[in-house]
């Protein structure tokens, strides 16, 4: 755990999340808790086919059903394109929306909508889809920047003018040196193919939105989202409205993990505008699985060479990401990280994003990175084993440092990969690695480049002596508590004397989406500046009241006093009241801060896991876990450790349990939480979090993003641990007990 620096009063001292009590008591308000007067309920009618032509939609039966207000198809809505038009591209593609006086009535009526489909051949396997002559999944749009990926800072660069194979919607290519020459210099060359299944973000709250149109057509949208301004912009763009005509109210988010970006909002808004009444569209679990944007499946073919002295000579990779029915997969980041974690003079990486007739892919905690590091870190362990090198020293020897080029040629900014490896090397658990029968330890690295987005913040002093900090970034992780702590540190206040609010896009300063591990990193400095600005105003006002020079004043415990003369003092509350009453001569205290960070703060983590394998059933259980992570500065160590534990738990889920399964016809077979296995408490061991603090030059108090990295190295750490336990390895996540049994049998 990090030690609080004595000069700080708040930063670095663990404190409970400010949003904890309302969530534990059930008083937090989510989208589904909203019941504006006149509310209507919408229910989607989804395509049962992975690919089909829509011949006819007969809504007559549904329209006559009790309580139904409207049954709308693409043709009924402005603009078109909000629902499938003429053709459906995945099972779950919305084709109609039924609007009724209650949710149950809408569901009843949705069953009565009759759609005549003409099934078309479905293309489901991305590698098949890439073959010349494969059926075309759909006409490819020319430009297609993914909002979610952009929000994660996914712009990975790389040559994109490569020829596109069939159905590939994006190609990324990174080249450096000469890989063939590199392999020729190697003492060991290993080649393997790794596969990662598609997984759902597993947010317990499903997607939901309530939209209401004013008589003039302007809109209010209450939504469970990671980005209110992003939602406003996306909805405005889709509906052809100016941004200011849309007010987005971000509601408490019951889990997002990359999955809660613009999805249902334009549709709900269009329906609300058309019907003139507020409309609620909250997906049920099954529909959430079918309609939302999962983390894509990936196939990574990797070839690496190293010398006996432990230096890497070449890395060659081919990545295929299954993007589903729309572009927007993170293949670019995956390629960047795959080639950017270790120093290697020769590399050639080709990444392909391929369309198939499945739910369109989206972002999930470190988009692309868990897939990439599963391959890379499995491979690093293999090379170490082959060359009889210590796996940690081998990584340390090759780890990138500040200034080393990334595959896109840009230099890495300061990063703490080496420091994390060194911390693990010196940790007693690494030194001892105690293991019982059929147990083994594995380590793995993972990293995240870190996102950027400008942000502004306001800081207001209220008459009760508390601060109201206004931001435009949504809190999905507890970030508001960290932001409160930043303002509290500046003011010398207790964090619970600070409220962080993000009311709506009308009244909040701009903030980027919560994604890419960038909220504290980018919004934090804006809050810090706003608080400093407010503090300066406080001292100026106090100087005037106390007839002293501002330099002679000190602010502590909610009171400004003349240094050395404690009797000459005034409280924050008094100053606020002075400046907010009728006829006052003083301007209210209101600080501003705004920043556009230019350098990102990569976050690296090193995991050490112990597993126990049941040799007769092939079951893998995680029996120990240490997560070492560079967090820059732990503003709230308890929260940072919580982020790490949650990330590791999700990593364990996608490695051992979770998988979206489509059948040969493109039907999603486990669209529920009984068949789709999210990990529970029994599946996750105690996770020890070890915080390394390599300060980010531009981070608030040195802090950097911590949300994504802990989900990233887990799969490879477990794969490596399995090999240590039973001598065989799995190249596919999630691990299937059957596959492990077969591998053990083959190995004899």
């Amino acid at each position: 755990m990090s030690s609080a620096e004595p000069s700080f009063q708040v930063i670095g001292r663990s404190q409970p999340r400010l949003d904890g009590p309302e969530k534990l008591r059930g008083s937090a308000r989510y989208v589904a808790d909203l019941h504006p007067a006149g509310l209507l309920h919408a229910r989607l009618v989804l395509s049962p086919h992975a690919h089909a032509r829509v011949r006819r939609i007969d809504t007559s039966g549904a329209v006559r059903a009790p309580g139904v207000v409207a049954v709308l198809t693409a043709a009924d809505l402005e603009p078109t394109g909000l629902l499938a038009e003429g053709e459906v591209f995945y099972a779950g593609h919305p084709v109609a929306v039924v609007v009724a006086e209650s949710e149950a009535l809408a569901e009843d009526a949705a069953e009565l909508v009759e759609v005549a489909y003409e099934p078309l051949p479905a293309v489901l396997d991305p590698e098949e889809a890439m073959r010349p002559g494969a059926p075309l999944v759909r006409e490819l749009p020319e430009e297609h920047a993914s909002q979610a990926m952009a929000a994660h800072g996914a712009a990975a660069g790389g040559a994109r003018d490569e020829p596109r194979p069939r159905n590939a919607s994006d190609v990324v290519r990174f080249r450096r040196g000469d890989v063939e020459a590199g392999f020729a210099q190697a003492d060991a060359v290993i080649e393997a193919t790794y596969r990662a299944a598609a997984v759902h973000q597993g947010h317990i709250e499903t997607h939901g939105v309530v939209a209401e149109a004013a008589p003039d057509g302007s809109l209010t949208i209450w939504t469970s989202t990671q980005g209110s301004f992003d939602t406003r912009q996306g909805t405005a763009g889709t509906l052809g409205l100016e941004e200011h005509r849309i007010r987005v109210v971000p509601m408490t988010v019951g889990g997002a993990f990359g999955g809660k970006f613009l999805l249902l909002e334009p549709l709900a808004a269009a329906v609300a505008r058309r019907l003139g009444r507020p409309v609620r569209l909250v997906l049920d679990r099954v529909q959430d699985f079918l309609v939302s944007r999962p983390s894509p499946a990936a196939v990574i073919h990797l070839k690496m060479g190293a010398r006996r002295d432990g230096s890497l000579t070449a890395l060659q990779a081919r990545l295929v990401f299954d993007s589903g029915a729309e572009p927007g997969s993170p293949v670019g980041i995956a390629a960047l990280l795959l080639g950017g974690t270790y120093r290697v003079a020769n590399l050639d990486i080709a990444g392909y994003e391929v369309l198939t007739h499945k739910s369109p892919a989206g972002a999930y905690r470190g988009p692309g990175a868990p897939q990439a590091y599963f391959a890379l870190e499995s491979h690093m362990d293999r090379l170490a084993r082959r060359l009889e090198l210590d796996p940690l020293d081998f990584r340390l020897r090759n780890a990138v440092r500040e200034g080393d080029p990334r595959p896109d040629g840009r230099p890495w900014p300061r990063l703490g990969l080496v420091e994390c490896l060194e911390r693990l090397r010196d940790h007693p658990l690494w030194k001892e690695r105690p293991a019982g029968p059929d147990e083994g330890w594995g380590m793995a690295v993972g990293g995240w480049p870190g996102g950027l987005e400008p942000a502004a913040a306001g800081c207001r002093l209220d008459p009760d002596g508390t601060l109201t900090v206004q931001v435009g970034a949504v809190d999905i992780t507890g970030s508001a508590t960290s932001l409160a702590m930043i303002a509290a540190e500046v003011f010398g206040l207790a964090p619970d004397r600070v409220r962080v609010v993000n009311r709506d896009t009308d009244s909040s300063p701009f903030g980027g989406s919560a994604g890419g591990s960038k909220t504290v990193y980018t919004v934090g400095p804006a809050v810090q500046r706003a608080a400093e600005d407010a503090r300066r105003q406080v001292l100026e006002l106090a100087a005037e009241r106390l007839e002293a020079a501002p330099e002679d004043l000190e602010l502590r415990d909610g009171r400004v006093s003349v240094r050395g003369v404690p009797s000459r003092s005034v409280t924050l509350a008094e100053l606020a009241r002075l400046s907010t009453r009728f006829g006052s001569r003083y301007a209210p205290i209101h600080g501003h801060g705004r920043v556009a960070q230019r350098s990102s703060s990569p976050g690296f983590a090193v995991h050490l896991a112990r597993v126990r394998v049941d040799r007769e059933t092939g079951e893998v259980r995680v029996t120990g876990f240490l997560a070492v992570q560079d967090v820059g500065r732990a503003i709230n160590p308890a929260e940072v450790a919580g982020q790490i534990r949650g990330g590791v738990a999700q990593g364990i889920g996608r490695t051992l349990l979770e998988q979206l399964v489509w059948d040969d016809a493109g039907q999603l077979l486990d669209a529920n939480l009984a068949d789709y296995r999210l990990p529970t408490g029994d599946d996750v061991p105690r996770i020890e979090a070890e915080l390394v603090e390599v300060p980010a030059p531009d981070g608030p108090f040195g802090a950097k993003g911590v949300g994504e990295p802990p989900a990233i190295p887990v799969a490879a750490a477990l794969a490596n641990a399995v090999e240590a336990a039973v001598g065989v390895r799995l190249n596919e996540i999630p691990f299937r007990p059957e596959a492990l049994l077969e591998a053990m049998k083959r190995a004899g």
Binding site: E107, V286, L669
Partner: protein, 292 residues
């Protein structure tokens, strides 16, 4: 995720409930703990015209013992059986099986009779009933009948229960002295319906030989699989690791599971063997006769 429209009745007596079932026949569904029925309604897999909620029937939550049989009443919840000293003492197999049903929230509401009536092929209790040769007491307005387990479970979610009947009681023979039992199961995630489960009970004679063996499996067919030939193989024999391995091999040969998204048929078959052997060994160990 809302259920289709249905009428609802909450009778205050069993007689009243049975009258309602007689009146509505297959249009009616009994609502017990709701842990299987409500999900099916919400997923709209069922559309009954009326739900007959039996949760208010008085005095129907008793577990007692009579004439060598443990009797589990209509409204006994899983949690109650799990915590019952009587169950633990006179039928450890049942206690261990019930503990593995779902999660505490589910066990707080779900009923044993409901689980048996529902007859999910992955459920623990039907296998316990099959292993022990238990009985199901069925009751309708017209009277009562008692069926042995093998005549009650007919197929996937299919039983001999008539629309106007309820499962009124389960009867399970109390474990004789010198008995060991084990309920073992394998699931990918704790608390899930198991891929395969094994209920095993071994009773030993004074000489330490196996006097009676009860063995049944979940997850390898539409109904609990009663491993009759493995039971016969065990009966009269002196226990040994070799014998148990042989019985397990027999089970492996005889089960005929199907594949689904969670496991192949071959893997289930393999699990049936591994778990059978482990369950028999555990039962032997628990009987405390190993040294003999």
């Amino acid at each position: 995720m809302k259920p289709p429209r249905f009428a609802y009745a909450a009778p205050e007596s069993l007689e009243e409930a049975l009258e309602l079932l007689k009146e509505h026949g297959s249009e009616a569904k009994v609502l017990a703990g709701g842990q299987s029925l409500m999900p099916m309604l919400n997923l709209r897999l069922l559309k009954p015209a009326i739900l007959v909620d039996i949760n208010r029937l008085p005095g129907r939550d008793r577990i007692d013992e009579a004439e060598g049989m443990l009797r589990v009443g209509l409204l006994v919840r899983h949690r109650q059986a799990e915590r019952s000293p009587l169950v633990r003492q006179s039928l450890p197999l049942l206690a261990e099986a019930v503990r593995q049903i779902g999660h505490p929230q589910i066990r707080n509401r779900g009923t044993l009779c409901g689980s048996v009536a529902h007859a999910d092929p992955a459920a623990e209790l039907p296998a316990v009933l099959a292993a022990l040769g238990g009985q199901v007491v069925l009751r309708s307005a017209g009277g009562r009948r008692v069926l042995p387990a093998d005549q009650f479970f007919l197929g996937f979610l299919t039983t001999a229960l008539e629309p106007e009947e309820v499962v009124e009681e389960l009867r399970l023979p109390v474990a004789p002295p010198r008995t060991g039992a084990a309920f073992l199961e394998f699931s990918r995630r704790a608390g899930d319906f198991a891929l395969v489960g094994v209920a095993a009970q071994l009773a030993f004679d004074a000489a330490g030989r196996i006097a009676a063996a009860g063995l049944a499996l979940t997850g390898v067919g539409g109904t609990p699989f009663k491993a009759a030939s493995a039971e016969a193989l065990l009966r009269g024999q002196a226990p040994s690791a070799r014998l148990f391995a042989e019985a397990a091999e027999r089970v492996r040969e005889e089960v005929d599971p199907e594949a689904d998204i969670h496991a192949s048929a071959e893997y289930r078959r393999h699990l049936a063997q591994v778990l059978t052997r482990r369950a028999l060994e555990a039962a032997w160990r628990r009987a405390g006769l190993e040294a003999a």
